[in-house]
Amino acid sequence: MSPAADRAGGGGPLLEVRELRKYFPVHGGILNRTVAWVQAVDDIDLAVLPGEVLGIVGESGCGKSTTARLLMHLIRADAGRIDFDGEPVHPDDAAGLRELRRQMQMVFQDSYSSLNPRLPIEDTIMFGPKVHGVSSAEARERARELFSLVGLDPAQFIRRYPHELSGGQRQRVNIARALALEPRLLILDEAVSALDKSVEAQVLNLLLTLRRELGLTYIFISHDLNVVQYMSDRVLVMYLGKVVEIGPTTEIYRRMQHPYTEALLSAMPSMDPDRRTETPPLVGDPPNPIDPPPGCRFHTRCRFAEDVCRRAEPRLGPAAGQDMAGGADHLVACHMRVAGSGHSQAAA
């Protein structure tokens, strides 16, 4: 079971997304007309390199789950371009989408709702391969291999129903289901968030082992910043439908440049009773993604906000100490980091 070779070759990204956008209409009034739009994902760019783990963090309503669903083509994007393995994906090309979903699979937070309650878990795992033309006997054989791979004894578990498993075991089954088609990219959307800590650690260890053994690439979405730091090679921070910062994990956690990233990280509860948090890094709730603030979307909660932040939207650019020509890998969207932006803290 080894994933297909890189068609693009030459170290190009496995998945590349440009100007991806999704607005959801909000209906209201007696005629039920569209009265507003939720700007769930607004012109985001991202690239995932083969074999890496890209973490996506942000609070509820920031668009991280919508991004995952757009990448899987579970919902249709309003605009933007998605390239998988160097080839553009066309949303109307059914055969192409089916092939894409073979190569790219998703594991959801709710381990129960993604398994058919009326089928033994073995049948659920065999379902995908059979749809893709694998014989029953072969699919059954593969299901057994997958059970062993995710640490469930096939003899003991294979004929069980989802309700007969614990949450951690069900999530292992979901990982096995996602791996059944030998995908190259797994999107893990809050895949460990519902698990107890003692079980979460088991599943995280499993994910890292599988990645190493099968050469998988992950997009790891979570609200838990400790878990993202543990899992990811690079981290992307989202706020109200925008990418505010992206970079290598150590850069993001040690030399973060966006005030929102900084606030998010300092909002993590302390693990040391002698160093408790004394002041909250931000005041108030994240604003509603319906009609988000103009300019920089974070300006309403940012202690550095100035006139320019309310007026102009900052673009994603190289972080301080990095330059585009040198292949900058740490990018940030903040006027303070753009020379001559008009912000008093920016370089002239």
Partner: protein, 324 residues
């Protein structure tokens, strides 16, 4: 503190809760004993199904009386809760004891404004005039840092954001100056930047009002931010209790050690996590001995008998034979 010991706010002795259903009996809580001093913050830390929320609800007799069998002895403010009449219980809830939940919509009636519900509660418990109750409600919303409280009084619960709703629920719980606040995972559903605001608010109000708090959580970080004392719960029992520094710095129960080791933190990167094998116990079929033994790497034949409590220091208790 030096003179006569203050009477504890809560004294629980051998509290046990069993849920009886058609096919199975769930032994949710199996002998929990503790005392809580005035102004003390106790965190009950445990995973799902450990019995932490049931313990909290048992203190207020909030469990369905037909299905839940409650045993043991519970005293709040020196009075026996298990012998109280419905009326006395209703007076206790709300005046002496406030309660907040994970989901604020549980605490509020969706068809009345926030202001009206807070004012009603004040009137119900203190018999003040409507005008006085309204003033108190404004004052309370202000105290939980809700901006423009007069306007918010007229808001319905669904019109508030998640963090605001949580603040309003805290205001409702505090409206009669309780000496004890029971908090059941009140920050779990909140975003990180909002969670820390609510935790700091609770810490501040607790200090200001001198309340005792029992705070139930599954999150070690949250417990560290708020607790004076932590009780680690597993299989319906407190397996270790101690001051927060002791529990974090010198955990002695193998489950506490495993829980702390498997909690991902900044320095875990690049290392395999020390996960606890197996899954939490089935509460319908608990072993008679130590509930953690099937997952414990130190388990031995003696663990098949119920483990006794060992008092390592007057404050630090552990329920494991290895502490001998």
């Amino acid at each position: 503190m030096a003179d006569a010991m203050p009477a504890p706010v809560v004294r629980a002795e051998d509290v046990a809760v069993r849920f009886t259903g058609r096919d199975a009996t769930v032994n949710a809580v199996n002998g929990v004993s503790f005392t809580l001093d005035p102004g003390e913050v106790l965190c009950i830390l445990g995973e799902s199904g450990s019995g932490k929320s049931v313990t909290l609800r048992a203190l207020m007799r909030l469990l369905p009386p037909r299905r839940a069998q409650l045993e043991g002895r519970i005293e709040i403010g020196g009075r026996n809760v298990l012998e109280m009449s419905g009326r006395a219980l209703a007076d206790l809830r709300g005046t002496e004891v406030g309660m907040i939940f994970q989901e604020p919509m549980v605490a509020f009636d969706p068809v009345y404004t926030v202001g009206r519900q807070i004012a009603e509660t004040v009137i119900r418990h203190e018999g003040v005039s409507r005008e006085e109750a309204r003033r108190r409600a404004i004052d309370l919303l202000d105290r939980v840092r809700i901006p423009s409280p007069e306007r918010r009084l007229r808001a319905y619960p669904h019109e508030l954001s998640g963090g605001m709703r949580q603040r309003a629920m805290i205001a409702l719980a505090l409206c009669c100056n309780p000496s004890l606040l029971l908090a059941d995972e009140p920050t779990t559903a909140l975003d990180a930047t909002v969670q820390i605001q609510i935790l700091l608010l609770l810490r501040e109000l607790q200090r200001e009002l001198g309340m005792a708090v029992i705070f139930v959580t599954h999150d070690v970080g949250v417990a560290v931010e708020i607790a004076d004392r932590i009780a680690v719960m597993y299989g319906g029992r407190f397996v270790e209790t101690g001051p927060v520094r002791e529990i974090m710095g010198n955990p002695r129960h193998p489950y506490t050690q495993g829980l702390l080791a498997s909690t991902v933190h900044a320095s875990s990167r690049g290392k395999a996590l020390e996960a606890i094998p197996g899954s939490p116990p089935d509460m319908t079929q608990l072993p008679p001995g130590c509930a953690f033994a099937p997952r414990c790497r130190f388990a031995e034949p003696r663990c098949e008998a119920p483990p006794p409590e060992f008092q390592l220091t007057p404050q630090h208790m552990v329920r494991c034979i290895r502490a001998e």
